[in-house]
Subunit: 341 residues, 2 copies
DNA sequence: TTGTAGGCGTTATCAC
DNA sequence: GTGATAACGCCTACAA
């Protein structure tokens, strides 16, 4: 454990001032090539490492971006984060990632901890039950940019990276209808989350457009936790309505539904067609394979990080609005097929 | 954006010294309750927030633990990280999480970035192809504790949190044998990773114990990326040996295998029984459901974080060795059943 | 119990 | 092109 060597040590050794050393290290324009290289080699030989703590204090910034996501264990989040990380690292930023585990309380704590630790920007995908945004106001009033991805709040001061969930919900529903479904059920997440509210809205539009009457009985609001899939299946077994098409706002839950419905004697897709959302790898592993909506997690991460960094660099965002919307795609598989062998 | 308020501001306002303010804020023992509360309330009213940058510089520590994992998108990693986070947060530590995406190069870069950013400890689960540990030596020589979880290096200076993979591999194999399998194939990850080497070792032991001859033909070394499952299936279709039992070192890959084998006309478990590893949620979603080995991700995370923090607090570790091994569990499901309806 | 003053390692503003 | 020197905000001997 060689003792830390500082710019003062180098300065002394080279008989120049600490300022010169500092400037050389950061290749400041007004420094002669000669001294610069002299300093650089000396630094390398001495095994000099900048002390980030000092840099941070001096510059009052951490070169760190905080990220809060509901859970880490989905392919969507993983790729989204890979996108964020790529851009962030290239720009010299570190990431502090934390998961709210779908709880607003935890999200609050994380937000506070990240703020305390001095992140330069915050990227958030909201927890299931987050209902207020007070835990972000200190960021906003401190001028720390907050960007939302996927599960967003629409705050004037914050950018959002989303897809057109209304259209996606519409597309999914339309597909079910095109496959002959008439008694549709939409399994939604918490309607506080705009992603779910928007998908429901698209669902309604599709029904209306096809002359299918909508009532509250067509929606099942859920926390989308596979643990609770049985409540739904019990309901489906009892209900008078014979649903023939289900649009689930989440692949994992859709997969569980299918499995449990099969256990309960339903034939998917013959009796009931099912479409999910996310294009999680699970879609291709279950039987029947799951139709779904695909959307670009990596891209969303890239854009979020770029947005943050642009803001930090003081670049003017080119977008007139601060909401970026990406394209989704309907993926048709077996679970919505008309005849499935 | 109220301007930052510092302990000097409070000191001036209260007509005490900055030191007193500092001590009150950190409730130093030698400070009168009266002044302490006075300072505390004043701080609250003024909306005082410590400046972590200054604290870090002063203390030369960041109160941050770095974590590097291969990928974030598995249930195992997510729960492991939840365990780490719980313990870390309770002890006042933040987490910087990054994913190596199974690449040693990325792992190196991450390790370096985290070191630069001054983490107080590092928790690592190694990438698929990591073959050297040079990128950790600067930690060790700087006295920063490095702990490995699950996919570990056995370095003298580093703690490891693992399960008994040898025994787990043995148990999985024994189960296949007990179910009547005689021509066994083990699909392993990279044997550089001790987890996989150990499971293979257990596999061999089980074979030997049951009087089944082992040859290299009984092992298929793979990167366990579901994208490459077809190579395996092609092999299984061509080979003369009619394998009747497969032990896959990873549930996701096992799930893909099952799906592809089914497409190729194999009946699972009738023709071939399959057991995986991890107890990923996927196990219960595929058909047939997947037998596997369960192991305690959350616990492992907790222990890793505790180990790190104990070290940082200078507590003497109670364990005579620095390798902690946790218990695993065989989970029997349909994919290894003798008669499956 | 409280105050003083130096240190933590860099950066940045002036001068020269 | 380079050098002093003052921040940056907090901690902590050492004094009082």
């Amino acid at each position: 454990m060689g003792k830390k060597i500082t710019i003062y040590d180098l300065a002394e050794q080279l008989e120049v001032s600490p300022a010169t050393v500092s400037r050389s290290l950061n290749n400041h324009p007004s420094i002669s090539l000669k001294t610069k290289t002299k300093v650089l080699t000396a630094a390398r030989n001495a095994g000099y490492k900048v002390n980030k703590f000092a840099v941070n204090l001096s510059k009052q910034k951490s070169n760190t971006i905080g990220v809060i996501v509901p859970k880490l264990d989905s392919a969507f989040m993983s790729t989204m984060l890979a996108g964020v990380e790529k851009v962030a690292n290239e720009a010299g930023y570190n990431l502090i990632i934390s998961q709210s585990l779908e709880s607003m309380e935890k999200e609050k704590m994380n937000a506070q901890a990240l703020f305390q630790s001095g992140v330069d920007a915050l990227i958030v995908s909201l927890a299931y039950d987050t209902s207020s945004y007070e835990h972000f106001t200190n960021y906003i009033s401190a001028g720390v940019p907050v960007l939302f991805v996927d599960r967003v709040f629409s705050l004037d001061d914050c950018a959002t990276i989303v897809i057109d969930n209304r259209k996606a919900g519409y597309d999914a529903t339309k597909h079910l209808i095109a496959q002959g479904c008439r008694n549709l059920l939409h399994i939604s997440g918490h309607l506080n989350r705009s992603v779910y509210a928007d998908r429901l809205s698209g669902f309604k539009t599709a029904l209306a457009e096809s002359g299918i009457k909508y009532s509250k009985a067509n929606v099942w609001e859920s926390d989308l936790d596979p643990k609770n899939v049985n409540e739904l299946v019990d309901f489906l077994k009892q209900t008078d309505v014979s649903f023939d098409g289900i649009f689930v706002s989440n692949d994992r839950f859709a997969a569980s539904c299918i499995k449990e419905l099969q256990k309960a004697g339903f034939d998917i897709p013959k009796d009931i067609k099912v479409i999910g959302f996310n294009n999680d790898p699970i879609c291709e592993l279950i039987t029947p394979s799951l139709s779904t909506i695909d959307y670009p997690g990596y891209q969303m991460g890239v854009l979020a990080a770029q947005g943050a960094i642009n803001h930090l660099n003081g670049n003017i965002d080119l977008h007139p609005t601060n909401a970026i919307s990406l394209r989704h795609q309907l993926i048709i598989r077996e679970s919505t097929a008309n005849s499935f062998n």
